[in-house]
């Protein structure tokens, strides 16, 4: 089932009771989540992504805007009637019930013609447990499970009532690094097997990029960009999205376009055809640097970190905004660590120009000024 958000807005009253100001958690958010896809809601903490999830689940009522599940307007439908499965960041497994009782709980709440017999309930619960591979843990209490197992139990509880939409709030943040990688794949597998439209919230771009069919990048309650992870990475609409995606992060320089050439400092580092003249913010992906002694972009060399397949070249430049430039180059390119400087050529498709004030992406021929 696809989910459509239209002009979704959520205001919270200010924490300070005396001030009349409101906190805008979600601001005029509109996008569509296609049927059967795994969508990552991505953004820094406080960007409104969890609020968006709660709005989809019905736990929060929007201040304005509407939500559609398929053709049905569910904006005013209470959470228990929406048929969504929700996995909480802390899992929220009921501590006084066993895993099996936890998984059965949503089924026991079904009423009317949806009511199931005891046998059916047990069968569904076991199917859900099999899917997340916790069959042997069903008689345990949540406190007797590891973080990863609790996570699976919570997913089983969310899936057992066969929801139309599965929502996960920071599903991996409470797991250690190794388990996170493993669970990430697991999540992908479960989503593929069930084909349930799934939305998950994360602040970890790697997590979102690695398993999502589509990512939605949010900042300050509004949508910045959405699309397939690679598309968004390769074609960010603004400096925020460019900075937020990618690890190591994009390198940002102060630069200027003069006569269709991009200058960083005194060097014309790249041709910039059809760009208007004027100062720009330059973002260069770490993989956009190609060491070449005859190149055009000279940086101070700080160090070389060999990582097997790749080499990370740490550089400095007076026009760089930040601590140190990090370039990822293939190990076949020998960078002489004893030298004081390193010279690069830049891959044009890895270099993005942004408006200095608004951070908006500048594109050839139709500058924003």
């Amino acid at each position: 089932m696809n989910v459509i958000l239209m002009g979704l807005t959520k205001h919270f009253p200010s924490k300070n009771k005396r001030s009349k100001e409101v906190v805008v958690a979600v601001d005029d958010l509109s996008f569509e989540i296609p049927d059967g896809q795994l969508v990552g809601l991505l953004g820094p903490s406080g960007c409104g992504k969890t609020t968006t999830l709660n709005l989809i689940s019905g736990l929060e009522k929007p201040t304005a805007g509407s939500i559609f599940f398929g053709k049905d307007d569910v904006t005013t439908v209470p959470p228990e009637m929406r048929g969504v499965g929700l996995v909480f960041q802390n899992y929220a497994l009921y501590p006084h019930m066993t895993v099996l009782q936890n998984i059965l709980f949503p089924l026991e709440n079904l009423k009317g013609d949806k009511k199931l017999s005891k046998e059916e309930m047990l069968k569904r619960a076991h199917d859900a447990a099999d899917l997340v591979q916790i069959t042997e843990l069903l008689e345990r209490k949540p406190a007797e499970l590891s973080g990863g197992q609790q996570q699976r139990a919570a997913i089983a509880r969310a899936l057992v009532k066969m929801p139309k939409i599965l929502l996960l709030d920071e599903p991996l943040s409470n797991l250690d690094a190794r388990l996170r990688l493993q669970t990430r794949e697991e999540l992908r597998r479960i989503q593929r097997e069930t084909g349930i439209t799934t939305v998950f919230v994360t602040h970890d771009q790697e997590e979102a990029m690695s398993i999502s069919d589509m990512i939605v990048v949010m900042k300050d309650g509004s949508l910045n960009q959405k699309g397939r992870p690679q598309e968004v990475y390769d074609d960010p609409v603004n400096l925020f999205v460019a900075k937020f995606l990618g690890n190591p992060p994009i390198n940002v320089f102060r630069g200027e376009v003069r006569n269709e050439k991009l200058f960083i400092g005194q060097e014309a580092v790249m041709d910039a055809p059809l760009y208007p003249n004027g100062p720009v913010t330059v973002g260069i992906r770490p993989e956009g640097f190609v060491p070449n002694d005859g190149g055009r972009f000279t940086c101070g060399l700080v160090g070389v970190e060999v990582m097997g397949r790749d080499t990370s070249v740490v550089c400095s430049h007076p026009e760089f905004e930040g601590a140190s430039i990090r370039a990822i180059v293939s190990s076949e390119n020998n960078v002489d660590a004893s030298k004081k400087t390193v010279v690069f050529d830049l891959k044009p498709n890895k270099v993005f120009l942004f408006d200095v004030d608004t951070g908006r992406r500048l594109r050839p021929g139709r500058g924003s000024r």
Binding site: S57, P79, E80, L86, F88, F105, N109, K161
Partner: protein
Amino acid sequence: MKKSGLKAWLYLLPSLIFLGFFMVYPLVDVLVYSLEEGYNSASQTFSGVGLYNYAYVLRDPYFLQAVKNTFILVIITVPVSTGLALLISLGLSSIGKLRELFRTIYFLPYVTNTLAVGLVFMILFKKTPYTDGMVNMLIGLFGGKSVDFIEGPYWAKMFVLCFYTVWIVLPFKILILTSALASVNKDYYSAARVDGASGFRIFARITVPMISPMLFYLIITGFIGAFKAYSDSVALFGTNLNAAGMNTIVGYIYDMLYGDSGGYPSYASAAALILFAIVFTITVINLFISRKKVNA
């Protein structure tokens, strides 16, 4: 290792001495008194050793009345006060505005003196030659017959006593339960709502189990407190409780020691030990049940 054990005992010593002097020794003494027949506190003499004191107390109609009163009080007030406290706490947790104000109002009886509350209850319930009291005025308004709650029939007096006891113990229970409710992570409620649970099911399957340790604490201490009730009865019916037929076990013990018919420490001791046995048994049963039911 041995040295640190010694140190621990040393730290415990002051309280052990204190407890020994003021708890264990008197308790043993009470046991001794209760077995000494014909004990005279003035001459410190007794005629024999045996269970006669227990036999006397258990046959004393005043004691049997006190036991009956106490049990009725316990059986009515503990469930009623705990249930009411739970309802009020749920209400207090769900209202947004004025919550602090209502909390304070509900807590006021706790900081009010028992005897002062008793006085207020007298005004509400007592019949005098000049007025029938507020409650009787209300009953009259609805066309009922006026009842003498303080000196009238037994059920009326028992009603007032239970009403009064519930009123007195309610604030503490509300205080405990509101904080217990506040400590439940809201995510459980959200999860249950998304799981399609109705309000009542959330209450029965999530809320109550989550606060069950506190509920059982209140039930156990409620039982103990109600079994030891005395001052409530005095506040309402005066000191001659045997005459009013509203004595409690602790009241009986007090009367045996200091009352108009007092001066019988042996009977008092026997009654005290019977009370101890009752409270002990009930508490053990309570703990046994709570082991099975409570989710700590």
